[in-house]
Amino acid sequence: MTPLSKALDQGFKYLLLALVLITLIVTVSVIVLLTKESSGFFSQVPLGEFLFGKEWTPLLEPKSFGVLPLVNGTFMIVFGAIGMALPAGLFVATYLNEYATDRTRSYIKPALEVLAGIPTVVYGFFALTFVTPILKTMFPEIQIFNAASGAIVVAIMVLPMIASLVDDGFRSVPRALREGAYGLGANSVEVITQVVIPAAGTRITAAVVLAISRAIGETMAVTLAAGATPKITANPLESIQTMTAYIVQVTSGDVQAGGIEYQTVYVVGALLFVITFMMNVIGNIVLSKPVMEAR
């Protein structure tokens, strides 16, 4: 009996280990397929032209493969969204941590979770049919598809994530540190801005990095609201196109597999992967470290 149960235990262990390996296989597969398809692309288009070219017209003649317009579009959304969501997230986290009673907190936290759980296509619809018309009353020259509307809804989407990560960061700041500052006669705004935020600094950085990564990868809201016009611009009232929106545009059409148009999807995907991968690694490493030893 004993050797059997011992063998079963070992068998169970290796079976589970095999399951663990699947997560590694997923990452490896993504890297392999993006590399493979991209290498086909780069045999025809030089890397420099792709990275620094200012025209992106792979589906139209004359074809041009400069990715900067898509990068420009993506980062307009990202800067706009984070620019709004970071201060808002700090305020919300502060409110939850310093001012809200436990009771209020128990209402607000789930409400923020609902906000985070709403599918992105719903945000896209909201941007298109609610945010843009409102913006139009303020800026009559705004285009139907525009970066501003996309950035606003992406800000709403990443707000719960920033607020919750910053909230965790605030909570990890030792009580004694706060009480020390209060004991010296500081008021809450001074304690938060001069003690709590600096002490939770790395966590806040991680929150921002992960939120940026999330905003870069965000697809449906910007596909629906921000348009399909790759261009280099700084005007948020114009139509743009993000990297993700480009992938959706091509894959939902009927471009033939194998051609260079098709490969552009993987190249843009590879660029998206590299950027978000680096940010996720940095963000997750920071998050996995304890903020301070004492609690």
Binding site: M1, T2, S5, K6
Partner: protein, 250 residues
Amino acid sequence: MSDPILGVKNLSVYYGESQAVKHVNLGFKDKSVTAVIGPSGCGKSTLLRALNRMNDFIPNVRIEGEVKYRNQNIYGKSMDPAEVRRRIGMVFQKPNPFPKTIYKNIIWGPKINGYKFDPDELVEKSLKGAALWKEVKDRLHDSALALSGGQQQRLCIARAIAMSPEVILMDEPCSALDPKSTLSIEELIGEMRKNYCIVIVTHNMQQAGRVSDDTAFFYNGDLIEFGATKKIFTNPDNSQTEDYITGRFG
């Protein structure tokens, strides 16, 4: 007086760099109760957990020396730790019945270990052995978590008995209980002495005095003194033991 059924030889236990048990030699006799006493942090629980390899589950623990059960080193290469724990049962500080029925709590161990048994008979025998039968015989299929703390602890003892071990280790079994439940456990230990080798760790000296035949006093990881409980409590050889017994420290 019989030979020790369980003994430790030059046993040291380390947590990372710090040594919690230092070169201890000690024997536990069959069908008798040995109390292990000492101030908290003296290594008595660590020693106890070394006796049935429960320390295996704590990261960074390292063991040197031998623990001999029926003349076999339980840390020997060919030893199966699960087999060791079947023979040497354990009762923990806080009652930890499984969140299942009373009945299932008893038969789980024998079942997964492939013992052949009549479940009803085993449940009755084990519960009687733990002086719990009368109180629960009508609600064997109720959740064990509905029992009082003292009853839960006796259920844990019954669960250990069901495995028919020869040795039962008890790690401060009454520290989470009220005085009345404590009394019932102590009476039970008195009964169980007839059949088992019991090693009980306790910080309560009166308890050690009441239930044990022999007492080992630990301080700072060292075994300071070991002998018949009567002698340790009335006329210890070592002045540290005397200071502790009389309440001068600890």
